[in-house]
Symmetry: C2
Subunit: 157 residues, 2 copies
């Protein structure tokens, strides 16, 4: 986890509220080839294959998931600090708002990755396109709907 | 919120863990035309226009967001029960696993919607494509990246 002293020039830390508003369960873990943050690819366009291990009570929730080719994974980036609201990414060299970045550093460190479903075996999934640290806590799996999730015309700088 | 007695034949409720694993902040609210769950469209392909009102400490995090045409909203469906792992959606008429559905009912009731950014004014955004209840708590905003988020070939049943 980054220390407070790691704030770069141009970055801005805020004081987070003293209490949170709601709580989440970790429902499983994501197994990936990446054992350190430095090894993680910068986005899930990479082709790394990973394994999703659901905790046993949740395995029944996978029924019919095999009918879909792609999934969303929502996971908890438990090693990221949460208080930076302006960040200076190395590739940019100047400050950008946290909500204009896909950085793990954000008030609620929930990551989002679309992956291709390769197979299901009991409570374990094989997927292509993981980018997170091995052992990352899983929050949710959702089916990917091209009708509502795909915007090929979306513009970025 | 659904009562325990609302479980339909074929649905399965599990006992959730006695403690949660992590906590989230509500960073703002989503303002929509929908004042009851019955009014909400079933998916964000609808064209409803909404307003995102960020709480003041987070507004600085919007810097550069206007460079993107589309955003992800992550929000907390605070009126949904969390213990159903098999559900019988009315349109399906038979049980399907929670992780194969985009239902608000799930262990971590975090919703995901891609919206078009129409404008930013201080800590307020105007967006097209909202589908949630007016006043829904916001967890995160992320820029939409067609390169990693768009899978036009994704299959669904």
């Amino acid at each position: 986890m980054a220390e407070k002293s790691d704030v770069r020039p141009g970055e801005l830390a805020i004081e987070l509220p003293s209490a949170c508003d709601a709580s989440v369960y970790f429902i499983g873990r994501i197994r990936t080839p990446f054992k350190s943050r430095g090894e993680c690819p910068k986005n899930s366009a990479e082709d790394a294959i990973g394994r999703i291990e659901l905790d046993p009570p949740y395995a029944a929730g996978l029924a019919d998931l095999g009918l879909f080719s792609h999934l969303w994974l929502l996971y908890w980036m438990d090693q990221a600090r949460r208080d930076l609201i302006l960040q200076v990414p190395a590739h940019l060299g100047r400050p950008r708002g946290t909500f204009a970045l896909r950085s793990p550093v954000r008030p609620n460190p929930i990551a989002l990755a679309a992956v291709e479903l390769l197979g299901i075996d009991g409570g374990t999934l094989r997927v292509r396109g993981v980018d997170c640290l091995d052992g990352t806590p899983l929050l949710d799996i959702k089916p990917y709907f091209a009708s509502t999730d795909c915007f090929p015309e979306a513009k970025r700088p």
